[in-house]
């Protein structure tokens, strides 16, 4: 008797299983949709924000440029007009408004280069930095102080007064030498030879980042 009852119930087992599948699938359709959090987690962003690697100084950058470190990619986030007026050597112009364009992504979303973002100060560059960080792009840095700082420290370094420590003089010597490298001429130089150094613009090609796929299959 009990067996018969069990058999009677079990006769519907496939129907019940099919019903469960339909209900679960229908549930997916009916569930309220919500906007997913795109990009990296807030905690990750915060740790990037407070990371000391975020900013690089103009002196550090000048050193890298003078030594022709190939791993640095400079990106000018100012508008095209400012870019054409003056920019850092071999910089690429990606105006802040065009940051999310497809062409820009090729330069920003890669892990071959250390990217240095800069603008006149570091305000717009910081904004670009945040946006790119949210998109989980790697190796991003901001030039501290931007082009203004670059001009004040590298191109037109302040001569230290006599009561300053030796280290300030060393820094000044370095900056002066760097400025000569970037094409600034000093009066004492004029007597010798007037050679304008032309630094050829490098064409920087960027390979698209390949995502290593996990292999799978039957």
């Amino acid at each position: 008797m009990v067996k018969k009852k069990v058999a009677k119930v079990l006769a519907f087992r496939y129907m019940a299983l099919a019903g469960i599948l339909v209900i679960l699938a229908g549930g997916l359709v009916l569930l309220p949709k919500y906007e997913k959090h795109e990009g990296i987690k807030p905690e990750q962003l915060l740790s990037n924000v407070i990371s000391p690697e975020r900013y690089i100084t103009t002196d550090y950058l000048a050193d890298k440029l003078v030594n022709q470190d190939p791993s640095y990619l400079l990106i000018d986030v100012r508008d095209e007009e400012s870019y054409n007026t003056y920019t850092l050597p071999n910089a690429i112009n990606i105006p802040l408004a065009k940051l999310l364009d497809e062409d820009s992504e090729m330069y920003l979303n890669q892990d071959q280069f250390n990217i240095v973002l800069f603008s006149n100060d570091n305000f717009h560059a910081d904004q670009a930095w945040i946006l790119c960080n949210r998109l989980d792009y790697k190796n991003l840095h901001v030039l501290k102080g931007g082009v203004n700082m670059w001009y004040n420290t590298i191109i037109n370094p302040l001569k230290p007064t006599e009561d300053m420590p030796a280290i300030a003089f060393e820094l000044f010597t370095f900056r002066k030498a760097a400025s000569m490298y970037f094409g600034v001429a000093y009066p004492e130089q004029f007597k010798a030879k007037k050679v304008k150094k032309v630094i050829p613009k490098k064409v920087i090609t960027v390979k698209k980042k390949k995502k290593a796929p996990a292999e799978g299959g039957c």
């Binding site: 099919a18 599948l21 339909v22 699938a25 997916l28 359709v29 796929p213 292999e215 799978g216």
Partner: protein, 196 residues
């Protein structure tokens, strides 16, 4: 959080070990459900046993529904899942050849290895056949290469290429599956029962 391996929660080095463990379980389940018998697989084509169709269709559905629920709850990111790349004509022609092998031999590559493990002679012959096929394919690869690498569509899914809402797609897919189960049951009842 997930998928676990692309996000580095499980390191890449564990890939092979996990594959072996899953393979053992998969093989065990295949054997335990009688899939190592070529008659069971051939039954789909002759219409006396649709277990294979039901099992694989249900497995796909359960995985699909489960995955999208996990995605909804934030445990897995579906967009990070590995999608096998589509080489359209290669897949079509390869599918036809595999289907022919399926009907004539009564095994799929997975079940044939299962059947070898329990010592079926037909499966041993079948696996030798696979090896010969692999050998011929590798030696004549330069002939097949244009087909093998041609008509590449990228890592697309049906949802991408049809451009429909994945949730509705899953629902429709579920309905299709259940209808196909019902139809296959009707076909099976009409056929003469075969004992094997």
């Amino acid at each position: 959080m997930g998928p676990l391996i692309p996000n580095g929660i499980i390191p890449h080095e564990w890939d092979s070990i996990i594959a072996i463990l899953i393979g053992i379980v998969f093989g065990f389940v295949l054997e335990a459900s009688g899939f190592s018998s070529s008659r069971k697989l051939a039954g789909v084509f002759y219409g006396y046993d649709f277990a294979v169709l039901k099992v694989f269709f249900t497995a796909a559905l359960v995985a699909l529904i489960g995955m999208y629920y996990m995605d909804y709850l934030g445990y897995v990111d579906v967009t990070q899942m590995y999608v096998h790349p589509t080489y359209l004509w290669g897949a079509i022609i390869g599918g036809v050849i595999m289907g022919l092998g399926f009907v004539t031999g009564g095994f799929c590559p997975g079940t044939s290895l299962c059947a070898v493990a329990i010592g079926k002679i037909d499966a041993i012959v079948y696996v030798i056949g696979i090896m010969i096929g692999v050998f011929i394919f590798s030696e004549l690869f330069f002939l097949f290469q244009p087909l093998y690498e041609g008509s590449f569509l990228g890592n697309i899914t049906l949802v991408d290429s049809l451009g429909i809402n994945p949730y509705w797609f899953i629902f429709i897919f579920t309905i299709i599956a259940i209808i196909s189960f019902v139809i296959s049951d009707i076909i099976r009842k009409r056929n003469k029962k075969i004992f094997y």
